[in-house]
Amino acid sequence: MAYIHFEKVNKFFGTNHVLKDISLDIEQGQLVSFLGPSGCGKSTLLRCLSGLESVTSGQIFLDGRDVTDVDPRRRGCSMVFQQYSLFPNLTVRQNVAFGLKMQKVPKHEIDAKVTEMLQMVGLSEKTNQYPRALSGGQQQRVALARALVVRPKVLLLDEPLSAIDALLRKNLQIEIRKLQKDLGITTLFVTHDQDEAMVMSDNIFLFNTGSIEQTGSPIEMYTKPASRYAASFIGHYNIIERDSFNAKTRLGLTCQTIAIRPEIMDITAEPPKDTDGLIVMKGKVNTSIPHGNIIRFTVDMGDFNLDVDILFDATKTFATGDTVYVSVREMDILRID
């Protein structure tokens, strides 16, 4: 049996069926992400594992033990919340020491562990400050230290970076991943941000209205979305109806939907000379928006639009209304039924 195992877990809130027969396995030491839009059940599943929510039916196993009805205090789960949830009347050190104190760890041991953990999260200078004197990022680090210092069996992160600005968020993503790897703690990470899930995870579980739509490594999820929903959620796929695509390319595909990643296409002012294995579509530039070192062109193909990402190149600048040729290898087109 896997380290964490959900067996046909169902959860109802009144008549609302929030989790539908969820069965999944998570191996020890992994960082897995529960990815999906708001209200899809990812946080509820996390809370069911922690014991903060009970399951309506099904079983949850943690480290070989059935914890379905075990008190949350005895499951060995630590959680970091979106809003930090630090204890406002306790200092940084007292916050981090809280869990160890509850475990009745000797005082000298608490001091040593807390000091070590605060060093790990880079907050040694802030030990005697109260949470309100810290920035959002620092507060989240304290929350992380508080959760990690008790060496939980599993660390649960419920959208912990959602309230933090973009730059700090990227740094914290890397820091959390590094800490998780150093300590080898099995971690479940809930997010609605696919980039965040890609950067941090060993595995991703993509949720769709209470069910798991697709599971896989970040690369698998990105390159092989199994459904239209997965393709629309992961990456920035161009999703095109078969008939429109066939009319434009005369390919005669039989699948329901075609998905093409924006970065695997090329855009040129003239049709490419060597068209072997290439599909070339003529269109007009609608918009061009710079995203850092990438420019995203939206090209009007008649019945549909295509987003094409290219690395910034001074020789490849197109204005709105310019006629362009978008080319993509036939093998790079994803056929989704």
């Binding site: 959680m79 406002p88 869990g99 509850m102 508080r146």
Partner: protein, 267 residues
């Protein structure tokens, strides 16, 4: 910009004068022996202040009774509301609207109506609630519900109580430990504000204590009322100023406590 600042100062000065002037005149009056041609007579005359401090035992007894009459209902109301609001925030958030409506009822139900209704229901029935003191404690505990509810509710939601309790629970803390060591210390500001507002409301009430307590139970307010009716003006003024000083001192102490609490937490 400058014009706007000047206007602010003018409004501030006018408002200060409007609020301070009556108090100032009462204070001057209490150090005189009456007004004569718009000026205080025999100013400064400390006779009435001397009497107030060293000879007026009745006044201080009444003040003491008023303070007890404030403290007991505040404790009753706070205890009930802290437990109720904590339970609602944690387990039954859908009941918040109902509690809010109940808590706001004293605003719509005037004190006189409430006092008469209570008397009709409980007076002379031979139960513990027939005792006029107990009755007063209970009535005041209900009357201050709006202040207590608003202060505590805002505080409980401001500290994100549910998530804090969940975080503590996952770290191994029991519900009681979390309540007393984490939640209550973080509610001290709300408790202080609620208690302060309630104290002001009860201490300055006259009608309810008069209706329920009658002549058997005198407080600072009923004492002042009789003094105003039959006492000597400047002497009454000294009592009024003293009552004001008591209320003002309690406000200052509460404010300082609150400030210290805030400062401790922001260190």
């Amino acid at each position: 910009m400058k014009k706007s600042n000047a206007l602010h100062y003018v409004v501030l000065i006018v408002a200060t004068i409007i609020f301070i002037a009556p108090l100032l005149f009462v204070l001057i009056y209490s150090f005189s022996n009456g007004w004569m041609n718009l000026l205080p007579n025999e100013f400064p005359n400390t006779q009435f202040w001397h009497e107030l401090f060293f000879e007026s035992e009745t006044f201080w007894e009444n003040v003491g009774r008023s303070i007890i009459l404030c403290i007991v209902p505040i404790i009753i109301s706070l205890l009930c509301m802290i437990l109720a609001m904590y339970t609602i925030v944690m387990h039954f958030p859908q009941l918040d609207g109902i509690v809010q409506t109940i808590s706001m009822l004293p605003y719509t139900l005037r004190g006189v109506v409430l006092a008469i209704s209570i008397l009709t229901l409980y007076a002379g029935k031979g139960t513990i609630f027939s005792d006029r003191i107990v009755m007063l404690f209970c009535v005041y505990a209900v009357i201050i519900l709006p202040f207590v509810y608003r202060g505590l509710r805002n505080n409980l939601y401001a500290i994100n109580t549910k998530q804090i309790v969940e975080a503590a629970e996952l770290l191994g803390a029991s519900g009681l430990y979390t309540f007393f060591r984490i939640i209550v210390p973080n509610m001290l500001t709300g408790i202080a504000v609620s208690a302060l507002l309630s104290f002001g409301a009860i201490f300055t009430d006259y009608s309810i204590v008069k209706l329920i307590g009658g002549n058997r139970f005198e407080t600072a307010q009923t004492f002042l009322y009789y003094q105003q009716k039959s006492g000597y003006g400047p002497k009454t003024a000294s009592y009024i100023i003293m009552v004001f000083i008591i209320i003002f001192s309690i406000a200052i102490i509460s404010y300082q406590l609150q400030k210290r609490n805030d400062k401790d937490q922001s260190k």
